[in-house]
Every structure is written in C-alpha cells, then in structure tokens.
C-alpha cells in the first residue's frame, strides 16, 4: 500500500483555514477516529471533505491478526541464557554496547527455558550434552525457534570427531550462523533473518514448519 505524505492543501477541497485552527481540527479528527468524546470550545470543528479522507487514509492500517502477532513476536524474542563454548562469549557481546541487540528487542535473556522462545546454540554440542540441549528445547513453550551458532553445532566444525554431534541430528534448527566463532554482527544477521522468517511464515509450531505432524510423543495408555 502506498502512502502519500502530502501537506493538507487548503485548495484541495476544504475551506481555507489557518495554522492554529487546522491543528484544532486535526486533534478533533483524531478524537473522532478513536471514537472518543470531543471536548473544548471548538468541539464541532474537524477536517472535512478530501482532507478528512486523506487524514483517515494516513492513520488507519488494516491487517490480519496473524500478521500483527507475527510482527509483535518477531520483534521481541526472549532468548534463553544458554552458552556452550567459545561462541557463548560472542553471544554475550551482542548484548554489549557495540552491537546492542536491544535495538531489535532481543535483549531480554531468560535463565529459564520456560520463559524463553529462542534457543541460541552457541558452541560445540558433545554427545553427553545433546540430551540436555534437547530437554531444554522441549521445555520451551511453543512457538519457539532455534539458532545454531557457529561451525561446531552446525557441522562439527574443525573437530569433526567422535565426541561431537551436529545439532540438526537431534532438534529442529531454523537458522544456521556460519563462523568459528561468528562475529557478533554475523549472529545479529542471523537473528534478523529469523525475524524476517517469523514475520513471513505464519506457521508458528516447529512441527508445521518441518512437516513433523504426527511425531508427537504419546504417553502409553493415553
């Protein structure tokens, strides 16, 4: 939708009015749009004709509830405070002053996975750690997302040996950030990619995103 920002033109339809009166009329129009009571000495005055139409056009936006929630969600991730190895230090520095993830609303790191909706796997996942990571991911409430940060947990990186396991083997990952370790800017880029993904993709559960419907754990006897 294209929004034209033109000054309200006195010759455009409505009667010519001076600055102060125009401000009063605008304020009154705003109250009208909100459905609120208009008060004051000039309560009857508001914008008229094409001026009013343009005023409404500029201020009202229609959207779907889905899009609005996706927009809100994607701008306020709560990452889990969860560091594994080297990448954790770079993950900490995206909160610090230089990159400052708070600009995009991701700074509220939560110590409990129950309060978090983004798991940043920062470092190498050993075979001993993998069940723990999976448990933490399972404890997070839907909708939830996961970023695999760095080469180790994406592909076992420089080590590639008996001890490590790539994170895709045991949990769904939404964004992989390459690097060893990735710069904070790279992680930031990954987070912004995830933001775009969440904004565009209405499927909020990872089972929908990964076509994993029907893989839910069923308790025996249920």
């Amino acid at each position: 939708m294209e929004i034209k920002r033109e000054p309200i033109d006195p010759a455009g339809g409505g009667p010519h009015i001076d600055g102060d009166a125009l401000r009063v009329r605008r304020l009154n129009s705003r109250q009208l749009l909100r459905g609120a009571e208009v008060e004051g000495p000039n309560a009857a005055a508001h914008l008229e004709g094409t001026d009013f139409e343009r005023y409404v056009e500029e201020r009202v936006l229609t959207t779907t509830l889905e899009k609005a929630t996706a927009w809100a969600r994607s701008n306020s991730f709560f990452p889990a405070t969860f560091g594994l190895a080297c990448c954790a230090i770079e993950m900490m520095s995206i909160v610090a002053a230089r990159v400052d993830v708070a600009r995009f609303g991701f700074e509220a790191f939560r110590a409990s996975p129950r309060q978090a909706d983004l798991l940043i796997l920062s470092g190498r996942v050993s075979i001993k750690m993998a069940p723990v990571v999976r448990r933490i991911y399972d404890q997070m409430l839907e909708p939830k997302w996961a970023i695999s940060m760095g080469a180790c947990c994406s592909s076992m990186g420089v080590f590639n040996n008996y001890a490590l396991v790539p994170s895709d083997k045991f949990m769904p990952i939404d964004v992989h950030v390459p690097g060893c370790p990735p710069r904070p800017e790279a992680l930031m880029h990954g987070v912004l990619k995830l933001r775009k993904m969440v904004q565009d993709d209405p499927e909020m559960g990872w089972r929908e995103r990964y076509e994993a419907i029907g893989t839910e754990e069923v308790l025996p006897g249920a």
């Binding site: 080297c86 420089v158 040996n161």
Partner: protein
C-alpha cells in the same frame, strides 16, 4: 451442571479471615537443619560459567559437599591433535580454553619449538608477549564482567565488554580474526603487525589503567560486593599447592608463584613488572589480584612496545616456516619448501617435552611426544581450570550456597579447558 470437584469446593471455601491455627506447622529449626538436601546445579545454569554440573549437598543453607560433574563440552581435542600435522594442530588447541587462545597456541608452539630446537627471533617473541598480555587483560575483563553479573552488578558487564571490544579490534587488526586468531606459528608469528597497530595499542594502554581504576572504584566501595567477597571461602596456600592450584588463586593466598618470573619464557625476563599477591586468600583477594594483574599487563605491553626490536617476525628456517609469498614466484626451492610444508608439514625429531606457561588461570602446560613423523604421537594439555576446580569443594564446604556462586565466579573456570 455436574457436581463440583473436590478441588473447586475447597477453592470456593477460601475466605480471607485469619486462621485460628497456622496452616503449616512451625518448623523445628533444630531438626530441619539436620536434614540433608542434594541439589543438582547445571549443566544449564547461568552462574556456572559454562556447562559445569555441580551436585551440591546442603544442610539448611550450608554447603556440606560438592561434586563437580564435567565432560559436557568434551570435544576430543587431544585425540584430534594426534591426527593432524603439527601446524594444523594450532587452531585445534586454540579452541580449548576459549578465553586464552593465544596462551594455548603459545604452549603448543613452545613445546614444538623446543623439540625442533628452533630459535624464535626477538621481534616475534616481543610480538607474542604483546598479544599474550592483551589476551590476559581480555580474559580478566570477561571474568570481571560475568562474575560481577553473578554478584548482581550488571553495569560492570557493559564496561568490561567495551574494553574487550577494543582489544579484539587490535587482534583483528594483526590477524584478521577476533577470537581463535591462529596468530602464533611454530617459529614466530604469522604476520608482522600492520601499520597503525602501535598507535592504536598505545592509545589503548593509555586508557586501560584509568578504566581499571573505574572498575576498582565501582566495586571496591560497593557494600554488596564487599559483603559477598570479604572473608568468604578462604583457603591457605599450602592446601592450594597440595591440590596443584596455580595462577591468581594461589597468588591470592600469598604465594608469589608466577611462571613469567619463576621460569621466564618468551623473553619475559626483559620486562620489569610486579606480581600482585593477596594476604588472606579469600574471594576478595582473588578479585583484587586479578584486577591488579590488569595494570601489570599494561606495563608489560608498554615496555614491549617501547623495546620492540627490528628484524624478522618468524624464523628463517625454511624447513619449519613458510617462505614469503613473493619468493614463490622466483625461487624453485621456496616452492618446494612451500609444497612440502603445506602437504605433509614438517617432521619433528623423536622426543618428549613439557612446556609450561603462565595463562590467565595458572600454569598451562603442553606435553608433546613426537615419534619422528609429521604428526604428534600425543598431545596433552595441563589445563589450569581443570586442576583449580579440584580445590573448589574444599573452598566452598561449610559456607552458604550464595557464597558458592561467588566462589565459583572467583575461581574463573573455563569449561572448554576443563573438558577439552
């Protein structure tokens, strides 16, 4: 409408009138303090500085026993190192103690150089000292920021990471990477420092002491920090030595053991610096010693920069170090050396060597056994975090659980180094 469930009935019967008798019987303090509770901390716990798991036995609020469970970031680095030629091992060992990557590389390179009997040119040694001391400051800054976070002082984190970024910019300038730079080579360093590096470094060393003053002012007069650090979990030097503890923890207990002075390596003998020691060996001394080390490191960097000798930055031995790039176009011999080094790597005469250096956490030693081939037969690291962790239960036993967190923060373990 079905009958109300038992729960709903009880829920609806709730009034706000005061109860005649208390709902919960008063606890017999004598009895409850005798009861033991085993608590699992970690591996996912924000205060454990990594994926350390602690099985803590509590009596009331007092810690009676601690069992650290490690291995959650076991990476198989020592085994991987056996499968790579010597110069390819450097990036692998760097990722062990991930806050002291220059030290890891230095321990390994030093061990291999001893086996090869290669002379490292003085300029390379000075460059190594500069980078290692910068790394020490950086490691202490991350420790200070995260430890203060554990104690509830969140603003320290931002200040410390501001200075850390300045150091990482310098690392990036000299090597192109922020972390795990692979700047140290067997025989020297990979590149000379670029133009503008010294000016930037001078700027940093000028500002760093004033910044460290500010950290001291923020924490040394902070009642909460003092209450939590002063007199908590002390351990005397003898017990620490019996556990094999080195580094700032031992120095905080009054033993001035520092390998930079005790067995100077890499031309540390050229520099004039002091070793900060504590008196009591409590958490406050551990904090104060590390903060004082930042000033000493700045002093060393200033001296190294002042006396930085001219000359080659890597050994001229073509059997060990890569020939300069421009020689490859003109010299057949250089091309052959380059080819041999890149494909097979250099061969190291058979033997064993242990090369200890002073890392930010204590004695970091590298043991290398060579069988004469181009791959090490065994690489073992004596990581200070691993050894220091053993004294943890002795430190924290008998203290409150809140002091356990503070002690762990002052212990500064790096799990990447412990598990390897």
């Amino acid at each position: 409408m079905s009958e109300l469930s038992e729960y709903r009935k009880r829920e609806q019967s709730i009034t706000l009138e005061p109860l005649d008798e208390p709902l919960i019987a008063p606890v017999d303090e004598e009895e409850s303090s005798q009861e033991l509770l085993t608590l699992n901390m970690g591996p996912h716990h924000p205060a454990t500085h990594g994926v350390l798991r602690l099985l803590v036995t509590l009596q009331g609020e007092v810690v009676r026993d601690i069992k650290p469970v490690i291995g959650y970031v076991h990476t198989g680095i020592e085994k991987t190192a056996e499968d790579k030629s010597y110069w390819k091992v450097i990036p692998v060992v760097e990722r062990m103690d991930y806050l002291a990557y220059y030290f890891n590389a230095m321990a390994f390179c030093g061990a291999v150089e001893t086996l090869l009997e290669v002379q490292v040119p003085p300029r390379a040694q000075y460059l190594r000292v500069i980078h290692m001391e910068l790394n020490r400051i950086m490691s202490h800054l991350v420790w200070l920021g995260t430890s203060a976070l554990d104690l509830g002082a969140i603003s320290m984190f931002w200040y410390c990471f501001r200075e850390r970024e300045a150091i990482l910019d310098l690392f990036e300038m000299s090597s192109g990477q922020r972390m795990h730079t692979r700047y140290f080579q067997v025989g020297g360093v990979i590149e000379d420092i670029p133009k503008g590096f010294t000016e930037k470094l001078r700027k940093f060393t000028k500002i760093m002491p004033t910044r460290a003053d500010q950290y001291g002012d923020l924490l040394n007069k902070n009642e909460i920090v003092l209450q939590r650090l002063r007199g908590t979990c002390p351990l005397d030097a003898e017990t620490l030595l019996s556990f094999g503890v080195t580094g700032p923890l031992l120095r905080a207990a009054g033993n001035p053991w520092d390998l930079r002075k005790a067995a100077p390596y890499c031309s540390y003998g050229d520099f004039d610096f002091k070793i900060p020691v504590g008196t009591v060996g409590d958490n406050y001394d551990r904090f104060a010693v590390r903060l004082a080390e930042i000033y000493e490191s700045v002093k060393i960097i200033d001296q190294a920069l002042e006396g930085l000798p001219e000359g080659p930055y890597i050994t001229e031995d073509r059997k060990v170090a890569l020939p300069p790039r421009h020689e490859l176009a003109t010299s057949m011999e250089a091309l052959i050396h380059h080819f041999k080094l890149v494909t097979e790597g250099f061969r190291v005469p058979p033997g064993e060597v242990y090369h200890p250096i002073e890392s930010p956490r204590g004695e970091l030693g590298c043991f290398v056994r060579s069988d004469g081939s181009s791959k090490p037969a065994r690489v073992h690291m004596r990581d200070p975090s691993f050894v220091n962790l053993q004294s943890f239960s002795r430190m924290a036993e008998g203290s409150y659980i809140a002091d356990l967190i503070a002690t762990l923060a002052m212990l500064d373990p790096i799990l990447g180094g412990i598990d390897r």
